[in-house]
Symmetry: C2
Subunit: 170 residues, 2 copies
DNA sequence: CTTGGAATGTCAACAAGGCTGACATAAACT
DNA sequence: AGTTTATGTCAGCCTTGTTGACATTCCAAG
């Protein structure tokens, strides 16, 4: 618990690697970087009376058009009631379209309208711009390391979801 | 905006580097990893009727004992009113002590009590455990890249704060 | 020294977005 | 057919963000 001392997990080449202080720096880096990560879309959204929750819904509907509410729930990791509130406003505002499933009429399939896609574009452009600058400044090897660590930090469940999306994408 | 195409910023060695698809994977990795990052402390906190805001306050008071409310505000990036509510409960519960400044009586200097330090320990232990596993699995070079990218992703202001904390720590 | 403004922190009220509970509808199983 | 399970919606609560109003303290100009 005291700083400077190497922490519990020491094995092989990691002798002087994982001090509590270094872990804490990693924690704080995550905290401050996440603020930067969300800052640009947040600015756009606040002008529109939307929040981060709307952004997340729009992002993943764009990523997997026709997805069901239930599927979106698993990706986002919130309750269906919470997601529903957000979807309701997006549908009312004409950014998202909800179609009753044909094989299973309990399901609603979600799509972005043209207007929804337009906002999605604005938001991703802003977020990608920052990511692009950061990636370029850091260089390809740093980016590879960045992704490796982030993947290792996810829960197993989320890593599976992430991987599935990744492979469906490219 | 279409995937597969290399994005705007192309320069030198980065020829095939920054496609929109890769940037989007970075964005999604951040999203899913941050969930994992906060999951363990969140579980502990929910048993105690505290939230992430309490965790953040406790973390940085521990990191910089005697800090003022105003200073904490700049670190956390929320309004003083919002922080104040959290601090009030922590003080009422005896986890944080607030002392009126001696040179400037408007200021309140914040300290963790023994009980506060105990909770801080539980929370950081949980969060560090995950970070340690991720770092170990990823290896030292990946960790270096991880930190480089995160730093590049911060706003200038936050990067300064982060660096100041980092240098005061080790 | 006093007075007006700036800095610091507190209290109150509101909004976004988490949560659980209750419920309607459709499907599936016995 | 009748019960159980899955999906989605509506209502209400809690945390934590926000702005507005205010008390206290400091400091600088007169």
């Amino acid at each position: 618990m005291a700083d400077g001392r190497p922490s519990a997990a020491i094995s092989g080449e990691n002798l002087l690697f994982l001090t509590d202080e270094q872990l804490r720096q990693g924690i704080e880096a995550m905290f401050f970087a996440y603020r930067g990560f969300t800052a640009d879309p947040d600015r756009i959204l606040s002008d529109l009376a939307y929040g981060r929750a709307h952004h997340r819904a729009i992002h993943f509907i764009n990523r997997a058009p026709g997805t069901t509410v239930n599927n979106l729930l698993n990706i986002l990791g919130v309750t269906k009631q919470s997601l529903n509130r957000v979807l309701r406003t997006l549908i009312a505002d004409g950014l998202v379209q909800s179609r009753v499933g044909q094989s299973d009429k309990r399901e609603r399939h979600l799509f972005l309208t043209d207007e929804g896609r337009a906002l999605e574009g604005r938001l991703s452009d802003a977020q990608r711009a920052r990511m692009r600058t950061a990636f370029r400044d850091a260089g390809p090897e740093a980016v590879a390391g960045f992704r490796t660590v982030l993947e290792a930090m996810m829960d197993t469940e989320m890593r599976r979801t992430y991987t599935r999306l990744k492979e469906s994408g490219a």
